[in-house]
Amino acid sequence: MARLSDMRPVYVIGVGMHPYQFASETLYIDMGLTAVRGALEDAGIAFPEVESAYVGCTGIGMAAGRIMFNHLGSTGLACTQIENASASGSSAFQLAVLEVASGRRDVSLAVGVDKTGDQVRAVQKEKVNRLSDTATIPLVKYALMAERLKKEKGLSAEDLAMVAAKNHTNASKNPNAQFRKPRTVEQVLNSTLVAGTTTSLMCCPRGEGAAAAIVASEDAIRRLGIAGGRPIRVKASVLQSEQPQVGREIPSVTLAQRVAEMAYDEAGIAASDLDCVELHDAFAIEEILYTETFGLAPKGAGQHFLRDGGSAIGGQCCVNSSGGLIGQGHPLGPTGLGQIHELTRQLRGENGDRQQPGARVGMAHMIGLGSISIAHILTKD
């Protein structure tokens, strides 16, 4: 298998977003165009320079991209729609990156845009029953895991609340975030109890929004006169799907570790090199589990890494400085590209009061229903 490191270098040259928000009358076209125009402006290029586009969405319908791009001038660019559940935006980004890396295109766009409501899960058409009526609901799996870890290693409801309070507070400083209120551990614990010790503020909201990233080759960067220091290198791009459960670890957690390790290998880095990570905290416990499986904290010590401030902005490796899925939001199609938006700004040193000091290496890591897992490593060259 060819790796990204065997192909020509690819850089993120522009990012843009439409804020994530609760379901509204806003049209997907308006949200998508806001994100794309933001990314074009950020890159300092015009739409006709973009040779291909990948559109990540789950709930809009067929051929959303063409309809959006008609309003930017019909340039005839190659246009493909991508659905990969929560990882749709990440997968759109991967394909744009690979297209430039392979030499097929010089400038490619990935945009994620979504509305709540029309998502249909294929698993419901499998015609295979499960013993439990909640067997395909990830929240229940993770709440069961939280219960088990409470007994096995003293993981407390306060630890879960601390993840959520950190991410809500990060989101309160993020103008693109769906939740804009700082939250305390007490407020998170006192929100509505959902399952086991998991409360509503420990879970990501449903919503809508858009995020976009433009990637380009070194040739294009020279030709387009993009200023040095701004392009952010994409050093790894890895996607895998889960294997049957072995023992008691949730298969998606085992998978997340495999993908992170493959990404480190492809990028030639170690976990200790990471300065900022955006990860899939659909539920607070996931952040604790993934900081361990990613090697940021020793196995079984995820809550200590959190309590000691290791994952705070300014800590060893800030985790979800955007607010993550819990705070920034999780509109599905855009989510993975919202992560790329955050990391790009971190690595450029443009992230304002959410800036991780001296950030040079970042990882965006997503899980998609099913499960699939996808990781990208970005570096400041």
């Binding site: 009526d133 909640t134 069961l144």
Partner: protein, 135 residues
Amino acid sequence: MTALEKPDLYEIDGTGPALKLIFGQCAACKEQHFPHTGYGCPRCGARPEQVTPEARDGRATLLTFITLHAKLAPGITPPCVVAEAEIAPGMIEEVMLSGSAAQYRDGMTIVARAEEVERNGETVLACRFAPEEEV
């Protein structure tokens, strides 16, 4: 007789409320899986003709359980208890427990039994696990 809610997963064991679970037994890899489906063996990919359904007693080891407080799926009425249980060596499934959490502890033996639930205005027999001594 009252219909089973999910007859592809379980069958009545004798006359009582106890249920047997329907596993798939693969002739190609000799491995067992759950649930049995019409698609073939999920372990080795063998065609459906290679897999035979095999009903086994619904005894399991309770691993972890939690109370659901929100209506996370159409079929459930919170508060209700869901669990992870080992239904055969190395085979862990999410199951629904009978009654409230107070009567359960990790590691105990639980048994599948039929319990009446309402589905679209009709009464059907669903699979709920209960402490062994109760069944």
